[in-house]
Each structure stands twice: as structure tokens, then as C-alpha cells.
Amino acid sequence: MNLVLAALVGLLFAAGTWLLLGQRILRQVIGLGLIAHGANLTVLLAGGLVGRHAPLLGNPEPRADPLPQALILTAIVIGFGITAFLLALGYRMHALEEDEG
């Protein structure tokens, strides 16, 4: 499973990079989104795949490592905020065209 996931991470990074290197703003934002998914999965993998149960205290051991999950949670929120910002920036870069002539 870890090999499959690692391959997915690689694919996410490769595809994200490819989109990012293009020159169309929204596709670049999509590329950044893909890369962010890749990075989040990497962090999750860093906790190992040993956990058989979710990190809730009621669950029996072995539980998944809660720390990477918490870190990813933070990263997801940050990524969400930045995506919204980038979209607004993209709007300003293109949609205001006619205002300025």
C-alpha cells in the first residue's frame, strides 16, 4: 500500500508541477492544489501506516499517529485560505481588464 500511495504522491507532484509551469493562472492554482494534496499525503505517510484504528481514545491499539493528522489539518486550513486568496488574485489579474483599458 505504501508503494501505491508513494506513487500517488509522485504523480500529484509531477502533475502539479506541470500545471504550475504552464502560464495560465487558474491552472497554476489547480497545480498548487494538487501539490498541496501531495504534501499532505506525505505528512500522513510520515506517521507510518501502522495504525489500524482512528486516533480516538475509545479505539483499541494500535491507533494511527494523531500528530501528522493534526499537522495536516492545519496545513489544509492554510491551503484553503490561500486558495481563496489566489482565486481573488486571479480575478483581479484578469477580470478587471476592461476597467483599465
Binding site: L20, T42, V43, I82, F85, L86, R92, L96
Partner: protein, 484 residues
């Protein structure tokens, strides 16, 4: 000690209050008061850090490495103090000459960026560093694009995208270190990293170095920088120019002293430092506009700071740290001068300016002193900074790099004289007013170079102490990880 969090919490609450307050006057009042309070708090923290080696704050009362800790050593405290000072002075410049692009929102961005910076300087947790980096970066994206035109927004995207990529690399680096060591606390990492698998640690250190290197604008990762500093209103550029790259430099110092300490000169890093100096100064020579020249000089000067780091001795680190502090003051002052010129004359193009020193003798002086300091002319702080770095380089036997750094300092002087002869000398212009408050803001940062040049022995002692403590990460680790 909760004091360690004050330089973060004060600007955080100030920024929030400014966002919520309805009246312009109130916002300014709160903004300046909060800025001042943050300066006081961070200077106090320097005193504490000096006395206690590392000021520890365990957030939520959880011990390291389980909870997040602030570990304010002298390095972090000094950076936070100068950062707070720069934020206040640039804010005053904006109060003196308001910019049409900035409305009430900018106060929030200003203080939240400061909160992010100070958090980055003080935190002892690697992932928390990532979070504070994001706080400061998002705030900088915000300030950069505020009121921008379509074209400016497009330029800003270059900055944003470069930094997002760097942040991703940072995150992957953190993941690698967690997998290798099982911790994200910097002290804990530094203790356990030597025993961890090099297959994870080495790429992690490299990725972190690249991520911080992008933020510090070292060769060849600096390309975003001119885009960021040429676009925004003058005082914002001064704020960025003074501090933004220095956060990256700080992180590099942290990486290569606390986390993964260098022991002796690191050839790759020395080469990068030299190339940064050279490419930066050549870029500056190619420019024809005051602010562009000054922006490229930032890159070049980063090279000196990284050179000090790369030499890998406490003395060289002290020199590099002295360079960082000196450069922050000088660069902010210069960019504030250019901000004053742009605000009053509507342009920063050398072609369009002339004779400013005749129209505003004091402005001429305000430019000449930091400019000469930047070029390393004695007895200003830049001279001593250069001497310390060069001496450390000679001690390490890096003759070629020393030669390059001296040549670069000549080219710096050449390009500074280009600004001076182009904009400040020549026939007098039609005189426009420059408010006294703007001069006060410039003097606030500019006077540092005089003070540190003529009597900077105490600052050297501080940076030397900071560097000696960095050279002994064991004490840091023990204080952070030790019992409550």
C-alpha cells in the same frame, strides 16, 4: 515565561483591533500604540534572553517536545526587537505620507505580518515555524496586492507562487524529519538527528535550506524579489525590504546552527554566498530606478550574511549576525528615503530626478549616510560588519570569497554613487515638501548605523554572545527539553 509571547500577541491583538475599529483616527492611534508596545516588549525580551540564555514559554503548559515551545534565545530576541522597530518606523512613514493604494485594512496586515515574523523568530518548534511563516507570508501577500492594478497583481503572483512552492518544500522537509526522528521540536530534533537515517535527514535539510533560501533570496532562488519590492507603496517596500528576506536568513541560521550545526566552512554554501553577492550587485548596476537598485542590493547583501553563516565558526556567525542587524536598519532607511522621494515627486526614476540634495539637504544626508554604510564605508556600521565578515573569511582561508566580497562592496559603492549623482546631485528641482514625520521615521532606522558604527562595541558583544550560544546547541536543547 509569558514574556516570550508578548512580541507575537501584542501585534496580533493590535492587528485584530485595527481591523475591527470603525474610525480612521482610532485605527491610527491603536496601531501606533500597539507598535510601540511591541518594541518595548521585544527589547525587554532581549534583556531577558541575555540574562537567561533561553527564555522558554511552554504553550498550554505542555512540556517539549509534546507541546509547542517558544525558545527565545538571543538570536531570536534580537531579530524580533529589530523587526518590531522596523515595523513601527515604516508605519510612521506611512502616517507622514499616506498612500492612495492603502486604506484602513492595511493596519491589520501590517501588525499580523509583524506577529508572524516575531513568532517565526521566537518559536522553538519546526512546524510552528511553518505556521508563522505562513502568517507572515499571507500578510505580505495581502499588503503587496492591496489596491493593486491588474498588472501589479500579475507581478505579485510571481512572488506568491514562488513562496507557496517554497512553503510546500518546507512542509515536505518537516515530514521527512518527523519520519526520521519522530519529533518536530527543534531542540529535540537537534539532539536526535545525528542518529537518524541520513537517507531522510539529508534530503530534509536540503529541502529546508531551499525553502529558507527562497525566502532569504539567495542565488539562484532570488528571482521573485524584485517583483515584490518594486510593486507596493514605498513604506510597504521599506518594511518588506528591511525584514522579509531577513526572516529567511534567520531561518537559515537556525537550520545551520541549532538544527544541523555547521562545523567549519561549508564549500557549497560559501559558493552560493559569493554568487548571491555578485549576481545581486550586478543586477543593481543594471537598474535605472532608485527602488529597483535598492532592491537588488538586498540580494547582494544577503550574500554577506550567508557567507558569515557558511564559514561555520562562532566568530563568523557573530559577524554575520552583526551584518543582519546593521543591514536591516540601513536598508529600511534607504527604502524610506526612496519612499519619501516617490511620495513627493511621484517617481523614483533616476532620469526624472535631480538635485534633491540641494532642495532637501537633510534628505541628502539621510540618503548618503545609510548608502555609504551599505557600501561599507567607515566609520559606519556597514564598515564594521564588512570587516568582521572579511576577517572571519581570512581566518578561514577563504581568500577567493573575501576578494569577491571586497569587489562587490566596490560595485555597491559604484551603484550607490549612481543614485547619488543621478538623483541627489545636479540642477535643483522644483521643490516639493517632505513632512517632518517622514524624516523622523527615516532617522529612527537610519541613526542605528551611526550609533553602531561609532560605538557599536556593545552590539558586537551581544551578537558575539548570541553566536557563542548558538555554537553550543546542547545548552539550548537542555533548556528547552529540561523539566518545567
Amino acid at each position: 515565561m509569558n514574556a516570550a509571547a508578548a512580541p507575537v500577541l501584542i501585534p496580533l491583538l493590535t492587528g485584530l483591533l485595527c481591523v475591527a475599529l470603525p474610525s480612521r483616527r482610532l485605527r491610527w492611534g491603536v496601531s501606533v500604540t500597539g507598535g510601540t508596545a511591541c518594541v518595548v516588549a521585544s527589547v525587554w525580551l532581549v534583556a531577558l534572553a541575555r540574562a537567561h540564555t533561553v527564555v522558554i514559554l511552554r504553550f498550554g503548559n505542555w512540556p517539549a517536545p509534546f507541546g509547542i515551545v517558544f525558545a527565545a534565545d538571543l538570536l531570536g530576541a534580537l531579530m524580533s526587537a529589530i523587526g518590531s522597530w522596523v515595523a513601527l518606523c515604516t508605519l510612521l512613514a506611512l502616517l507622514a505620507q499616506p498612500h492612495p493604494r492603502l486604506d484602513g485594512f492595511f493596519h491589520g496586515g501590517w501588525h499580523l505580518m509583524l506577529a508572524g515574523m516575531n513568532g517565526a523568530f521566537l518559536t522553538g518548534d519546526l512546524f510552528n515555524l511553518y505556521v508563522f511563516f505562513e502568517v507572515l507570508l499571507v500578510a505580505s501577500y495581502f499588503l503587496l496586492t492591496l489596491g493593486s492594478t491588474r498588472r501589479q497583481a500579475r507581478e505579485a503572483f510571481t512572488y506568491v507562487a514562488s513562496n507557496l512552492v517554497a512553503s510546500t518544500l518546507f512542509l515536505v522537509g518537516v515530514a521527512l524529519l518527523y519520519a526520521a526522528v519522530g519529533s518536530v521540536n527543534m531542540a529535540d530534533l537537534s539532539v536526535r538527528m545525528p542518529d537518524a537515517s541520513p537517507g531522510l535527514v539529508r534530503p530534509a535539510v536540503f529541502l529546508l535550506a531551499v525553502a529558507f533560501g527562497v525566502k532569504a533570496a539567495i542565488f539562484p532562488l532570488y528571482a521573485w524579489l524584485p517583483h515584490a519590492y518594486v510593486l507596493p507603496p514605498g513604506p510597504v517596500a521599506a518594511y518588506f525590504g528591511g525584514m522579509l528576506t531577513k526572516v529567511g536568513v534567520y531561518a537559515l541560521y537556525r537550520l545551520f546552527t541549532t538544527l544541523n550545526p555547521l562545523r567549519g566552512p561549508e564549500p557549497t554554501l560559501v559558493t552560493v554566498a559569493v554568487l548571491t553577492m555578485v549576481f545581486g550587485v550586478l543586477g543593481a548596476l543594471a537598474q535605472e530606478e532608485v527602488r529597483r537598485i535598492l532592491s537588488f542590493h538586498i540580494i547582494s547583501q544577503i550574500g554577506y550574511m550567508v557567507f558569515g553563516l557558511a564559514l561555520g565558526t562562532p566568530q563568523a556567525w557573530a559577524a554575520g549576525l552583526f551584518y543582519v542587524l546593521h543591514h536591516i536598519g540601513v536598508k529600511t532607511a534607504l527604502l524610506l528615503v526612496s519612499a519619501a522621494v516617490e511620495a513627493s515627486y511621484g517617481t523614483g526614476a533616476l532620469r526624472a530626478l535631480s538635485g534633491l540634495a540641494h532642495a532637501h539637504p537633510f534628505l541628502g544626508l539621510s540618503f548618503a549616510i545609510p548608502a555609504l554604510s551599505l557600501a561599507g564605508i567607515p566609520p559606519l556600521s556597514g564598515f564594521w560588519a564588512k570587516v568582521f565578515v572579511v576577517e572571519a573569511g581570512l581566518r578561514a582561508g577563504e581568500a577567493f570569497a573575501v576578494g569577491a566580497s571586497l569587489a562587490v562592496s566596490l560595485l555597491t559603492l559604484l551603484s550607490m554613487s549612481k543614485i547619488f549623482t543621478g538623483a541627489f546631485w545636479g540642477p535643483s528641482p522644483e521643490r516639493e515638501a517632505i513632512p517632518a514625520l517622514h524624516y523622523l521615521a527615516i532617522a529612527g532606522v537610519g541613526v542605528l548605523t551611526l550609533v553602531w558604527g561609532l560605538g557599536g562595541g556593545w552590539l558586537w558583544d551581544l551578537t558575539a554572545t548570541a553566536a557563542e550560544r548558538l555554537a553550543d546547541p546542547g545548552v539550548y536543547a537542555q533548556t528547552v527539553l529540561g523539566g518545567r
